[in-house]
Symmetry: C2
Subunit: 255 residues, 2 copies
């Protein structure tokens, strides 16, 4: 039985708590966060919480589901012992964890929202550990939540986080701009819903560079110019230009 | 029974042919394109094709599924008569069709690929016509293919096309960049697949501006700087900067 303490009170902490509490061979012995917040509404969750780090329970595994900036400090406050300390961040090195501990990373690559149920079977886990046996332990735990378990180094994870910013944050911003352009012209945004889903699904079957369409890759200068004239928002216009140029540069040789 | 001639030989022409040929009350009497290409491999499709516009059959409805630039010219070559001529373009005005005809627009808003089956029940149709009875005719035909039928003016359609460029072409380019960053670092792109699907699905339930996450909206300057240092591709770096600034400007007031 692996004794686990979950540290933190945000979305990742809550969703991991809810998922891990039902796993065989795992026993969540405590949750710690400064404000003493319960990680779910269950009675059991409330009893597990402490807000004073001096009351931290002994465990085999401490999961730091806290902000990137807090990882170094909070990990230094955990007393030394025969245990593994992992963080759950996409953008922080394994070395940010205080080196008095055996260290690892347990990074679920998904954007979690507070009130949306997370189906962990679809969440990829990116794992790293200094020691083979620790890696095996977190592999076993991750595998009990999801079939998508990857060993990813801190260097790779840094770049994966950048890639995720493009794939998630920036594509979402493209959807936001699309919605704003619809709203400004009394067009129901739902007209674009099937296109958005199709775009995402296509990117998984064909590689996305093969499914690129639109005026930029066709080098359709008339349409590009007309679009730029139509867009009144300066910021949207700038983004239209920069991405169009990038697509033209990337695919230009084929034209 | 509505007699239809389909003009053009590209993806839209082929997919519309395949979908319309099985609809009640519709009879595809001919397909015309300059190269005399059949729109499907069925024997019937081969017999229907003509490559000489002088052989154009009489019909109630001519569907121009051709490139934007060819709409004016090809529509001028169709003899005058008691019929409706529609184009299928997202970015061309209804007025591009020669005004000797009754005119309309029959625009299926989806990006079609040659070898991928199209489920038209998920495709929104954006319709426009000069005359009420023509609008009713194309509404009836579109409704027999899809429940998503919208009346959209030429002005609105122009902006919808811009919005679709952001929602489809540009988001796909974000996925392309994400894949390139993964490839360059030996990270399997499939790790990002669930995130891509989740991003698209979220944009349909929450409005996308509400589900924006990432370093830009958090105004996490340390992470933004680190990401910019990590990205070696100059084009990717430029796009990262421009979109980050746009997100910060849009959401800045909340910070």
């Amino acid at each position: 039985m692996t004794k686990i303490v979950i540290i933190g009170s945000g979305n990742v902490a809550s969703h991991l708590f809810i998922a891990l509490k039902d796993i065989d061979d795992v026993d969540i012995v405590q949750c710690y966060n400064r404000r003493g917040l319960a990680l779910s509404k269950e009675e059991n969750a409330v009893h597990l919480v402490v807000s004073d780090i001096k009351q931290l329970a002994k465990a085999n595994l401490y999961i730091l589901a806290i902000s990137d900036d807090a990882i170094a400090e909070v990990s230094s406050e955990i007393p030394e012992g025969d245990h593994l300390v992992v963080h759950t961040s996409g953008s922080v090195s394994i070395n940010s964890i205080n080196n008095k501990h055996r260290r690892g990373v347990f990074y679920p690559l998904q954007s979690f929202s507070k009130n949306k149920h997370v189906d962990f079977t679809k969440v990829p886990f990116c794992l790293e550990a200094e020691h083979k046996e620790d890696l095996n332990l977190i592999k076993k735990i991750a595998s009990s939540l999801s079939p998508k378990v990857y060993e990813i180094s801190s260097e790779q994870r840094k770049m994966l986080h950048v890639a995720a910013v493009f794939a998630n944050n920036f594509s979402n911003y493209m959807f936001t701009i699309a919605k704003e352009e619809c709203d400004q012209n009394d067009i129901p945004f739902e007209i674009l819903h099937p296109l958005i889903i199709e775009t995402a699904e296509k990117a998984l079957t064909l590689p996305p560079e093969k499914s690129q369409t639109g005026p930029a890759i066709r080098n359709d200068l008339k349409t590009i110019e007309r679009h730029l004239n139509q867009i009144s928002d300066i910021e949207h216009k700038k983004i239209y230009k920069v991405i169009t140029e990038a697509i033209q540069n990337k695919h230009g040789k084929k034209l």
